[in-house]
């Protein structure tokens, strides 16, 4: 027990030594600065989490639809449905690149229509289009336009749906959301830079006397800027960790929420476990942005002095 405590004490001492600077941190302005950067990191983490989730979901949905086409056979008064289906199936199965083609059982088709028409059985005299579920050979890219032409010539009232329109809309939606999240990330980063510039200038003003003494004893600008960059590196790391941690908690809560009712409307929507390690990137980015900004600001201010 004592060894464990000694080790913790030594580690804390080493950590304190790493954070120690000659220039004292501006006391009163420290916690508001932590709070503001933590809020920025929280927003950035949520934006990042949503972006990654949308990407994953869009990818999963696209993958589900890839390699699948649906052929719809509409009933016609001048033809028997079974005859139409048999001809269509024969043509499809004979085409290159097709792994399987199966008529969707009427019960499955009814299930698909249930959200719109309800669970009441349809009267037998209502003609409902029949569907053929076609699976493509993995990796193959058959000429679906040619297949559609052949089918429509041979079997009137046939439509081939390769889900391209749905997939392209899904891709556009995912891209828009990603662009929005990226814009939010950039805005948050710009705001963080502005905050750190302001805080560095305030810290330098508060420590004007200390900086002057350091200059007069021969300290180079790099040394003095290094003092400020060390301070802001740790502010960025600490505040970033708090913000990202809070965001992870919120995303967990939202995922739990989506796991309930949300799954019905948007299946697969929820933050996956692979997303959480990416949130570690936020405090590191906050630290890097804080460090670089503080350094550049300090060097710029020092450059105006003798």
């Amino acid at each position: 027990m004592t060894d464990w405590r000694t080790w913790v004490a030594a580690a804390a001492q080493r950590l304190a030594a790493l954070q120690a600077t000659i220039i004292p941190p501006a006391g009163g302005s420290r916690w508001p600065l932590h709070l503001v950067i933590a809020v920025m990191c929280f927003l950035a983490s949520v934006a990042l989490g949503i972006t990654l989730t949308v990407s994953n979901v869009a990818e999963a949905w696209s993958a589900d639809l890839a390699g699948v086409i649906t052929v719809q056979v509409k009933p016609r008064p001048d033809a028997e449905m079974d005859d139409q289906m048999a001809r269509a199936l024969a043509i499809i199965r004979a085409s290159p690149g097709i792994a399987s083609a199966d008529r969707l059982p009427p019960a499955t088709a009814a299930e698909l229509l249930e959200p719109w028409l309800g669970s009441v059985a349809l009267p037998d005299d209502i003609a409902v289009p029949q569907l053929i579920d076609v699976r493509l050979v993995p990796g193959a890219s058959p000429d679906l336009e040619a297949l559609a032409l052949i089918l429509s010539d041979a079997v009137p009232g046939v439509e081939v749906d390769d889900h391209f329109r749905w997939k392209s809309r899904l891709a556009a939606f995912a891209s828009s959301l990603q662009a929005l999240a990226l814009a939010a990330l950039l805005l948050i980063m710009a705001a963080t830079v502005a905050i750190v510039v302001f805080a560095t200038r305030a810290a330098m003003e508060a420590n004007r006397q200390v900086i002057e003494v350091l200059h007069l004893i021969g300290a180079r600008d790099n040394f003095i800027a290094g003092e400020f960059q060390t301070q802001f590196l740790w502010v960025g790391l600490r505040a970033g960790a708090i913000g990202a941690g809070a965001a992870a908690a919120v995303l967990l809560f939202l995922t739990a929420l989506a796991g309930g009712q949300g799954e019905f409307f948007l299946p697969g929507l929820g933050v996956t476990w692979e997303t959480y390690p990416a949130l570690l990137f936020v405090p590191l980015l906050a630290a890097a942005v804080s460090l670089a900004t503080a350094r550049m600001t300090a060097l710029s201010v020092l450059g105006q002095r003798l």
Binding site: I22, L216, A219, F223, L306
Partner: protein, 235 residues
């Protein structure tokens, strides 16, 4: 070592506080600068410790022309100058030991390389038991000695002291003067600005400069030692 030729200085757009100042400090010399308050003593020292540039005239430090020196060339020159500021300018959040270590720390030298020397120096100036005290808890004389230790720890070629005895009692003033004398004996060029004329009268051969309304006059040439003091009897 230090050469001024017709140097003038003003703060911003204000009036000239130094006018046509010309003098030269020889290496290893002991020099006094006297004058009433507001005469320009501190301004002259500010030029010498490179906190300000002259507004006219020509100034060289250690053979370098200060007028054309770039900012990045300043730190190496400043490291050759030790300064005892009138108001000490110690960093209140650091201990006496850390304050004295500063001139060595900024050079990037590892702490273990100089820590024992700094402790020895602080003991030498009589602060062996006050090393971990912070400036706000030190007396005026103790602060003055910490400031002097910080000024000499990196063994500067030139030591500038602005009213070093202004904040201490006469007895401590004599002790500090002995310290400067010892440093001068080992080759450090020293310039002491003071309005305490009795301090200057203790010397027989040290150079004596006097400044009045921004104009410098030389009252005695350089090349002496302090009279009436035993150099071996430090503190």
């Amino acid at each position: 070592m230090v050469r001024f030729e017709n140097v003038g200085m003003r703060y911003g757009m204000g009036p000239e506080v130094l006018r046509d100042v010309s003098f030269e400090l020889k290496p290893g010399s002991l020099n006094f600068l006297t004058g009433p308050s507001g005469a320009g003593k501190s301004s002259l020292l500010r030029l010498m410790y490179l906190a300000h540039r002259p507004s006219r005239g020509h100034m060289t430090m250690f053979g370098e022309d200060v007028d054309v020196l770039s900012r990045k060339d300043m730190p190496p020159l400043r490291r050759r100058i030790g300064v005892v500021f009138q108001e000490f300018r110690l960093l209140d959040h650091l201990s006496a030991l850390e304050n004295v270590c500063l001139p060595l720390k900024i050079t990037g030298a590892p702490e273990e390389q100089y820590l024992s020397d700094v402790r020895e120096l602080l003991t030498w100036v009589g602060l062996g038991d006050r090393m971990n005290a912070t400036p706000p808890t030190l007396s005026g004389g103790e602060k003055q000695r910490v400031a002097i230790a910080r000024a000499v720890v990196a063994q500067p070629d030139l030591l500038l002291a602005d009213e070093p005895t202004g904040n201490v009692d006469p007895e401590m003033g004599i002790k500090l003067l002995r310290l400067f004398m010892e440093l001068n004996r080992i080759g450090t060029t020293i310039m002491i600005a003071t309005h305490d004329i009795s301090l200057v009268e203790r010397t027989t051969e040290a150079a004596h400069y006097h400044i009045e309304r921004g104009q410098l006059s030389i009252r005695r040439q350089a090349g002496g030692t302090l009279a009436g003091l035993d150099a071996g009897e430090i503190l």
